[in-house]
Symmetry: C2
Subunit: 299 residues, 2 copies
């Protein structure tokens, strides 16, 4: 079954201890699509400016990604620039130019409205609500967010969370949102806000899932070389939702495997800058690493 | 089969956000023994002062722990005091009074010398060497250490590491010892120093094992309440070595389960102060949590 993603589309300039890129493909919608399209058909809703190098999306088209919902607006594409610290766990934002993203109002093509799986990537919660208002009874709504919206749009965020089935956030966000210092308690507190399932990402320390009858925890895939952590979270979500959509199920067994696929896809994403590694790999690479990862974590 | 542990014996005064204890049973030998004795017969070599409340060891005796190697020296027992920060990931040492531990020279009773499994807990590497010199062809030598010996006794540490089969250390120590920032690379670099197997503990983020044909990674057991992290590493080692000794094997399947038992036993250890939780539980509690943990990590 297919997946709809609504998120940001950006040109990123990133510097890490291993090199740098300028105006490379970025944004949550593209990272997610590059990951999820390894598993299932993907539809994108996002906005770029008229300066956007559309040929960069050819690999997504080749994977059957539907770009009918990609709006090309007059003006410049959203630009983000950042530099990572030597330990790669922290970064400084050097530039955030919203440009055409500032006035983004997601408009779903009619044929998108019945997409069964929806991933609301990290955009303003009011826009996430606008998306849900245009959907016709999706099977599963998954939602990501960030510290900014917890600080500045908590009311809207809680509204949209109450309409989501699965909320994906990182450990710091879970703590900030709930005031619980213990991350397990924090995740359980998030389920009280509406979503049946909460997934907490802990970066290099793995991820865990809390549900009504589920508790599932995984380490990260062990990497000796990490080139650029940008987009790891959206790639994780892409692997997760992609597997769920491909199986057309989110029962416990599927969710466990989806968490492992998410981990594996995120591990590829950080091996090169931008979506370069996700562009390179195919399903076979994913399956090979999935098998290795399953073996590594098998008690 | 039985396990010999040589390590410190202390009276700890610990303060955490959840309470405090004064002069409670502590030290690597006792934490290790409290954990390992849930699995296999344990022999202790350590030193206490003549002020030591020996009745505190009754629960170890009841589990068949052999205390023939516990020296009672004239003077005061080693005392340590520390206070944990609110996030429990950092602590300040308030007091280190070595007392009788200062002149500790491990003497193995004759009947200890053929013990098949030896755990050299964190003591000066020269003392660890003295222990090995008294052993008769142990089946497996496992060694723990700390940042202090990496800084101040690196030559001796490398000597004893070359005689160990398994080295257990934490992520920071692995980095410090090898100069590798990436913890996987660091662990592999430690195997170059002699031990076939290296186990890296990452506290609340789990642990992994690197061997000639092994790579195994596990998250920590998810705990909603953490009362006192003191002794978690020695309890981890106790669960690990205890299971290996009970199975009289360290093949890949046993090592995987040993890592999971280690994780589970460490999770009990931090649920109360001192060895109070390890004193309370039995093998049935361990097996129940092991089963739950295996389910939680099953892809």
């Amino acid at each position: 079954m297919s997946v709809l993603v609504v998120g940001s589309a950006a040109l990123d300039s990133v510097k890490t201890p291993y090199g740098e890129v300028k105006d490379a493909l970025g944004g949550s919608a593209f990272y997610f699509a590059a990951a999820a399209s390894l598993f299932a058909p993907v539809k994108i809703v996002a906005v770029v400016g008229d300066d956007f190098p559309l040929e960069q999306l050819d690999f997504l088209k080749a994977r059957g990604v539907d770009l009918a919902g990609l709006e090309i607006a007059k003006g410049k594409t959203f630009r983000w620039a950042g530099i990572y610290h030597p330990d790669m766990n922290q970064r400084d934002t050097l530039l955030t130019e919203l440009n055409v993203f500032q006035a983004f109002s997601p408009k779903l093509p009619t044929e998108y409205r019945k997409t069964p799986y929806v991933f609301l990537a990290n955009i303003h919660p009011e826009l996430q609500i606008e998306v849900l208002d245009q959907m016709e009874r999706p099977r599963l709504v998954l939602l990501d967010t960030m510290n900014l919206w917890i600080s500045t749009a908590l009311g809207s965020l809680k509204k949209v969370m109450a309409r989501a089935d699965v909320v994906i956030l990182n450990d710091q966000e879970a703590r900030q949102l709930t005031g619980e210092a213990n991350v397990i308690k924090a995740a359980k507190a998030v389920t009280k806000l509406g979503p049946k399932i909460v997934i907490v990402k802990k970066g290099e320390h793995g991820a865990f899932l809390v549900g009504p009858q589920n508790f599932f925890t995984l380490p990260a895939y062990p990497l000796e070389s990490l080139y650029d952590p940008t987009g790891a979270g959206d790639s994780f979500a892409g692997g997760l939702v992609g597997h769920i959509a491909a199986q057309a199920s989110h029962d416990d067994a599927v969710l466990r495997r989806a968490m492992a696929y998410a981990t594996v896809v995120a591990s590829f994403a950080v091996e090169k800058f931008s979506v370069d590694r996700l562009r390179q790999i195919g399903k076979k690479d994913v399956e090979e690493r999935f098998k290795r990862f399953s073996e590594m974590t098998q008690v």
